[in-house]
C-alpha cells in the first residue's frame, strides 16, 4: 500500500490582512435587504477583486481584437496579452512549458476534452477507468459516456466515514485492464483534500495516467504540476477570483502531442484543403475558434492577484476559518458535519436534524448568509453518507471569523423556526 503523508510542516506564514483584502472585493460591501452579505458559497463561485475587474475593463476598452490573425496593432496586442496570460498560468501551476496550458471554458470542458481525445484512443472494450465516490458529476459523467461508448467499466474508490479515500481499496482496483484514473484534488461536497500525489505515483507504477479535477484545489492550494507529476489537471477561472467561461487544462506535452484535436475549426489548423487538413501544434490544436480572450486575460490577472496575496497565507487563513467554524458548529446540538477528513479545504457540509437543507438555505439567505444547499453535483457522495443533500458553507481567504459567527447564529435561528 501507499503510505499516508506525514503531517504537513507548519512553517510560519505571513498573516493575512483580511480587512485590507476585503477592500479589494467591491461585492463584499453589498447589503441585501439592509443586511451585509455574508458570502459562503465560494466553492460554487468565488468573487472578483478590483484588479481583475480593472484588467477586464482595460482589455475591453483598449486592447480588444481577435487573436492570432490580423497584423494590425490591436490584434497583436490582444494576442500578446492572451499568450502572456498563458505564461502566467503556466508559472502559477509550475508547468514545464507554456503550451501545456490549454485554455478551455472550464473544468468540465477540460475533462471532456481528455475523455473524448485521449480517452477514446486509450480505452477499449473491457477496459477499466478508476474514479472515486467523491467525484463531482463533471468527473463522472464524461467517463460514463466514454465507458458506454467503448464497453468499458468504471471502478470506484470508496471512502471511510470521515470522507477520506481508502487507499488500500484504490490499490486493489488496479487490474491489467486499468487505462485511466480520474480523481478530484479536493472534494467540492465534503472538502476532503485527496492524496493525489500518492495516487498518481501508484498509478504510474502500473503505467496508468491520471486526470486530476482541480476545480476546488486551484483557489486554495499551491499547485505544482511537476511535483504532482499528474498527466492532466483541469480547473476553472471563476472559482479562483477570475471570470466565468474560462478554464485551463494542463497536460503533459508528450500526451497532448499524441492526442487528436477535440473540436475542429479555425485557429487549430496549419492548413486546410478538402483533401487534407494539417493540425496546428500545441496549444492551438486544442483551441478551435475564437477563445474567451478576455476571460484568459482576466484569469491571468487573477493568478497575479492570488500570487500577490500568497497561496501559503491563503491556505493558512482558510484553515483557521475552517477550524473556527467547525468548532462552533460542533457545539450546536442537532447539527452534524458531513466530511471530517484530517486534511480538508475550507468546506463545511452539514445537516440539521429534522430540517431539510433547502429550508436551511432559504432561511440563512434571510439572514444575509449565502450558502449552497443540495447534492452539490456529487450524488454518489451524498448516497455514501445516506443524506439526500447537505447545506454547504465554503470559505475563501476574504472571509472573516465574524462571518463564521453569522453562519452559526443563522443556524441557531433556523433551529428556532423549526423547533
Amino acid at each position: 500500500m501507499i503510505a499516508q503523508p506525514a503531517v504537513l510542516k507548519k512553517d510560519a506564514v505571513p498573516a493575512l490582512d483580511v480587512e485590507r483584502i476585503r477592500a479589494d472585493f467591491p461585492i463584499l460591501g453589498l447589503r441585501l435587504d439592509g443586511k451585509p452579505l455574508v458570502y459562503l458559497d465560494n466553492a460554487a463561485s468565488s468573487q472578483m477583486p478590483q484588479p481583475v475587474i480593472d484588467r477586464l475593463v482595460r482589455y475591453r476598452t483598449s486592447q480588444h481584437a481577435n487573436i492570432h490573425r490580423a497584423v494590425h496593432t490591436l490584434s497583436e496586442t490582444a494576442t500578446r496579452e492572451y499568450e502572456e496570460a498563458r505564461r502566467k498560468i503556466a508559472r502559477f501551476i509550475n508547468a514545464r512549458a507554456d503550451h501545456e496550458v490549454i485554455f478551455t471554458s472550464g473544468t468540465t470542458d477540460g475533462i471532456n476534452l481528455v475523455a473524448q481525445t485521449y480517452g477514446r484512443r486509450a480505452v477499449g472494450k473491457g477496459d477499466e477507468i478508476i474514479l472515486t465516490v467523491l467525484e463531482h458529476h463533471s468527473n463522472i459523467v464524461p467517463w460514463q459516456m466514454l465507458a458506454e461508448e467503448k464497453g468499458a467499466r468504471i471502478r470506484v474508490v470508496p471512502v471511510n466515514d470521515a470522507g477520506e479515500l481508502l487507499l488500500d481499496e484504490y490499490e486493489r482496483l488496479f487490474t491489467p485492464r486499468t487505462r485511466l484514473v480520474a480523481v478530484g484534488h479536493v472534494s467540492n461536497a465534503l472538502g476532503t483534500v485527496n492524496p493525489v500525489k500518492l495516487m498518481i505515483a501508484g498509478a504510474h507504477l502500473r503505467g496508468v495516467p491520471v486526470v486530476v479535477d482541480g476545480a476546488q484545489a486551484a483557489p486554495h492550494l499551491k499547485l505544482d504540476m511537476q511535483d504532482l507529476d499528474c498527466d492532466f489537471y483541469a480547473f476553472s477561472g471563476h472559482k479562483m477570483c477570475g471570470p466565468t467561461g474560462i478554464g485551463v487544462l494542463y497536460g503533459k506535452t508528450a500526451l497532448l502531442e499524441q492526442m487528436p484535436p477535440f473540436k475542429g475549426g479555425g485557429d487549430m489548423i496549419l492548413s486546410v484543403s478538402f483533401e487534407k487538413t494539417v493540425y496546428a501544434g500545441l496549444p492551438n490544436k486544442f483551441e478551435a475558434g475564437t477563445p474567451p480572450i478576455a476571460g484568459a486575460i482576466g484569469l491571468g490577472a487573477a493568478v497575479d492577484y492570488l500570487s500577490g496575496v500568497g497561496l501559503e497565507a491563503i491556505g493558512a487563513w482558510e484553515h483557521e476559518l475552517l477550524e473556527y467554524a467547525t468548532a462552533q458548529i460542533r457545539q450546536l446540538p442537532g447539527v452534524r458535519i458531513i466530511g471530517t477528513a484530517a486534511r480538508k479545504a475550507a468546506v463545511l457540509s452539514f445537516v440539521i436534524d429534522d430540517v431539510h437543507p433547502h429550508d436551511v438555505g432559504t432561511l440563512l439567505n434571510e439572514a444575509g448568509v449565502a450558502v449552497r444547499t443540495g447534492h452539490h453535483c456529487a450524488q454518489p457522495a451524498m448516497e455514501r453518507f445516506k443524506v439526500p443533500a447537505t447545506t454547504r458553507a465554503s470559505f475563501a481567504f476574504y472571509n472573516t471569523l465574524a462571518e463564521a459567527d453569522a453562519l452559526v447564529a443563522g443556524i441557531r435561528e433556523v433551529q428556532k423556526v423549526f423547533l
Binding site: 437543507p357 433547502h358 432559504t362 423556526v417 423549526f418
Partner: protein, 162 residues
Amino acid sequence: MADSRALYQEVILDHNRKPRNYGTLERPSHRADGYNPLCGDRLHLTLQVNGDNIDAIAFEGESCAICKASASMMTAAVKGKTRAAAETLFHEFRDMATGRLDPAAAGRHLGRLGVFAGVRDLPTRVKCAILPWHTLHAALNSVATATTEADADPMHAPIGNA
C-alpha cells in the same frame, strides 16, 4: 428580496411536523412518483378513486418543509373531492405559485392553500411547493412519474441535475 421567513408560517411548519395522510394506501387505484432533481425531493402518492370521487389519498417521501407541507395540505384539500375539482385546484395552485394568479381574487377555490403564495417571490422554491400537485395530476392521468422539469415556471428554464 422576499421575506422568506414569512413563508415559514405556523400552518406550514405544523403540516411539516405532522403531515396529514402520510403513508401508502394498500390497494390504490392510482399512483405516481414525483421527483425534483434540483433539490432531490421525492414523493410517492397513492389514491383510491371511486367513480369520479377521490375517496382516499396518501403520500410519503423525502422532501423539504415546503414540499412536505404542500403535499400534506393538498391531500387534505382533495380528499373527498371529485377529480375535476382536484384538477381545478391543481391549475389554480400552479398559477398562484408561479405568480400568474392572485390567490385573493374572487371565485377561487384555494382557501388555506393561499399560504403558499409567498413562494412566487422565491424562484428556487416554487418547484418545492408545486411538486405534490404535479404528482397528483400525473397520478390522475395515469402517468407514472412527474418531475418539476417540464413546468412552465416563468422564473426557471429547465434545470439539469448537475
